[in-house]
């Protein structure tokens, strides 16, 4: 019975494969622009496909494979926890923290750059995680806030003499304001409609940056001010009227100093953000975000004002994105609108989805993996996107809730 079924299956697939492969591989271009029939190739390919399908569908009827399929299809609705990162085990966090602090001094400039980029994506992932993972508002234009942050630093430096330290709070505030501005018109939208509007918002920001040439420099981009700390600069020769730090310390100049500085500040910001987000999850506002994701009407019936909750999610997320933008600008030294395309938004969304909606640890891991993967796979850079897609499909099959599911706060029972 199974045999018959499998044979029929294989035959059908073989015919389909033949139909597909005949035009694709059956005709070869000859030297004098004529065509030669090369029929053995499609038949060979179709035969291989048939054999594979036959083995596959026959094997699927065995007991073990059925069990396997059952396991595969069964969606895990219970959250799964990684046992070794329980909050009780503080020392693991401490070791990770120290590792993160020491890491830059062991890396080459290339490694440092990659590490900084990874941390920037961690920050972006955390920001979008508030909007998408917790509040359940699908935002496809998150890169807009990233751009706003980066351009606040660059243009603020150019027109108002804004420095790196000043740029962080200013960019956060302006990005949050943009978040509210985006939030207001989309308050009544859900799901797909919301996604389309946010997508449009992302493009609007990019188009403004491209076309408002008098202010933003358009496609030519804009120079970012040099980094400073207590008036010391990280350039070979002082540019902004300060003292180069290597001269002050009496050591030889190295480009690594700048990256070390940037990495350490960024690392501390990321740690602070992880702490704040974890805390937010168990605060009223974090719970309200999640409740809004689950059911807006129920929220209203409980006296929660959905307007303020949504706007706070948008502005908090945008704020984090804006801060990430400042670091991006500081790392690049020069920015232009091509860094803020839709592809970036999609990448950040991929980080959140892969990491596990709402899970902080998952987002951090996914951000690191998705930034390091393209670097490791430089040789096959053409297939990078294919790999991304494949990874996404595999994840959706095996772990539809992301690498690491949300860990819920545990409450003690009634006394």
């Amino acid at each position: 019975m199974h045999l018959k079924h499998a044979l029929k299956d294989a035959l059908l697939v073989g015919v389909l494969a033949l139909l597909l492969f005949l035009p694709m591989t059956g005709i070869a271009l000859a030297e004098n622009y004529s065509f030669n029939a090369r029929l053995h190739v499609p038949f060979l390919l179709a035969g291989m496909v048939m054999l594979g399908r036959f083995i596959f569908s026959y094997a699927l009827h065995t007991y073990h494979s059925r069990q396997w399929v059952k396991r595969l299809i069964h969606r895990e609705d219970r959250p799964r926890f990684i046992p070794w990162v329980r909050p009780q085990r503080r020392w693991i966090l401490l070791i990770l923290f120290i590792f993160g602090l020491v890491l830059p001094f062991t890396l080459s400039n290339y490694g440092l750059n990659t590490a900084i980029l990874a941390l920037i994506y961690v920050l972006l992932g955390l920001g979008l995680n508030i909007v998408v993972g917790l509040a359940g508002l699908l935002d496809l234009g998150f890169v807009a806030f990233y751009a706003v942050g980066a351009y606040t630093f660059a243009l603020g430096g150019q027109y108002f003499g804004l420095g790196f330290w000043g740029a962080i709070p200013v960019a956060a505030a302006i990005a949050a304001l943009c978040g509210v501005l985006l939030g207001f018109p989309v308050l009544r939208l859900h799901g797909d409609y919301l996604a389309i509007v946010t997508l449009g918002f992302g493009e609007i920001i990019r188009l403004i940056l491209t076309n408002w040439i008098e202010v933003t420099g358009g496609p030519n981009g804009v120079q970012v001010p040099t980094l400073q700390i207590f008036g010391f600069e990280f350039t070979r020769i002082a540019k902004a009227g300060g003292v180069p730090i290597h001269e002050y310390l009496g050591v030889a100049y190295s480009t690594a100093y700048r990256y070390w500085f940037l990495y350490l500040v960024l690392f501390l910001v990321v740690c602070a953000m992880i702490f704040i987000l974890n805390r937010l999850r168990s605060l009223p506002i974090g719970r309200a975000w999640e409740a809004l994701r689950e059911d807006e009407i129920a929220c209203r019936s409980l006296g929660i004002n959905p307007v303020t909750v949504k706007l706070s999610a948008f502005s908090m997320g945008a704020m984090v994105g804006g801060v990430a933008g400042v670091f991006f600008a500081a790392q690049q030294g020069f920015i232009n609108p091509t860094s803020f395309t839709f592809f970036e938004s999609a990448l950040i969304l991929a980080i959140v989805v892969l990491g596990g909606m709402g899970s902080t640890l998952g987002v951090v891991l996914a951000a690191i993996v998705l930034t390091l993967l393209p670097e490791v796979l430089r040789e096959f850079s053409q297939y990078r996107i294919v790999l991304f897609g494949g990874l996404m499909v595999l994840m959706m099959v095996w772990r539809p809730r992301g690498f690491i599911s949300l860990q819920r706060r545990q409450f003690e029972g009634a006394a």
């Binding site: 409740a291 307007v307 009634a414």
Partner: protein
């Protein structure tokens, strides 16, 4: 009668269909009142008016709270500058709906199809309900100030009390989605109670429950009404439950009130019998 809720001549239409027509009644304080009627009579529409999800075209709905009397329709249809709400709230109510305000006045509800926060734990569901009661902002919460810790402790205590009352204590860390249907119904009532209401509106609380669970629910509701300063308005199709626990019944049919009275009066009311069973002459 000392009413908690007074509905005055309220009407609402949906595209020519009259869902409520000059509905006029009041419900007594600290008692269980039931709203019954055949399918499509307008019970849930009336509920949605009382809890702020619909705005009646005309008429007034008064909530006689412990401290003040509020006109609910006015809150839902404020002018540009309502004195009760302040400019920001009235602007918001105008554009995005202000149904959440009614909960602050002491009206809480459950839904016919359960609307729990499925992917949140039982305890979190109850804490979300106390969102507006939790003191403090982002910063007091982030830095664990004393005021915040205290208000959270109170919220947890209230949540534990209602968990205990509805026999849900063993499940406090489970996801709401993992509970059985009957437990989900009870959790939804517990969640509504966590908002500390004066009027609790239950939309078919016994729908989908087995006879044992219905009996448990009836016992719990009676205990609830007896021991707390709470008025309950419920929609229910299970007549045995309605006659058993309610002291006051309002019968709706085709958007109109056809009878008001005690269970015994209603059982003998000719128009009610006609609405439910059909008249002898068609």
């Amino acid at each position: 009668m000392n009413p908690i809720l007074r509905v005055e001549n309220s009407s609402i239409e949906f595209g020519g269909i009259v869902a409520l027509n000059q509905v006029h009644f009041q419900i007594p304080r600290n008692q269980i009142s039931a709203l019954i009627g055949p399918n499509g009579a307008g019970k849930t529409t009336l509920f949605n008016c009382v809890t702020g999800f619909y705005r009646p075209r005309n008429g007034k709905i008064f909530l006689h709270g412990a401290r003040q009397t509020s006109e609910l329709c006015g809150l839902l249809n404020p002018g540009w500058l309502s004195r009760d709400l302040g400019w920001l709230q009235s602007l918001q109510a105008r554009f995005f709906g202000g149904s959440h305000v009614l909960n602050h006045l002491g009206v809480a509800r459950t839904f016919q199809n359960i609307r729990l926060f499925q992917q949140m734990s039982v305890m979190e569901n109850l804490l979300v309900a106390q969102h507006t009661k939790l003191k403090g902002n982002l910063f007091s919460g982030l830095f664990n100030t004393k005021a915040y810790v205290n208000s959270e402790r109170t919220a947890l205590e209230i949540a534990r009390y209602w968990l205990d009352f509805f026999e849900l204590s063993p499940y406090l860390n489970k996801l709401a989605a993992e509970l059985s249907y009957g437990q989900q119904r009870r959790l939804e009532i517990a969640r509504a109670l966590c908002t500390r209401p004066q009027l609790l509106c239950l939309d078919e609380p016994a729908a989908g429950l087995n006879p044992q669970e219905t009996a448990d629910l009836s016992r719990l509701l009676q205990r609830l009404c007896a021991q707390s300063q709470l008025s309950i308005l419920l929609i229910e199709h299970d007549m045995r439950l309605v006659m058993e626990i309610s002291q006051h019944i309002i019968v709706l049919d085709h958007g109109e009130v056809i009878a008001i009275g005690t269970p015994t009066q209603i059982q003998q009311h000719p128009q009610v019998l006609a609405a439910y069973l059909g008249t002898e002459y068609g």
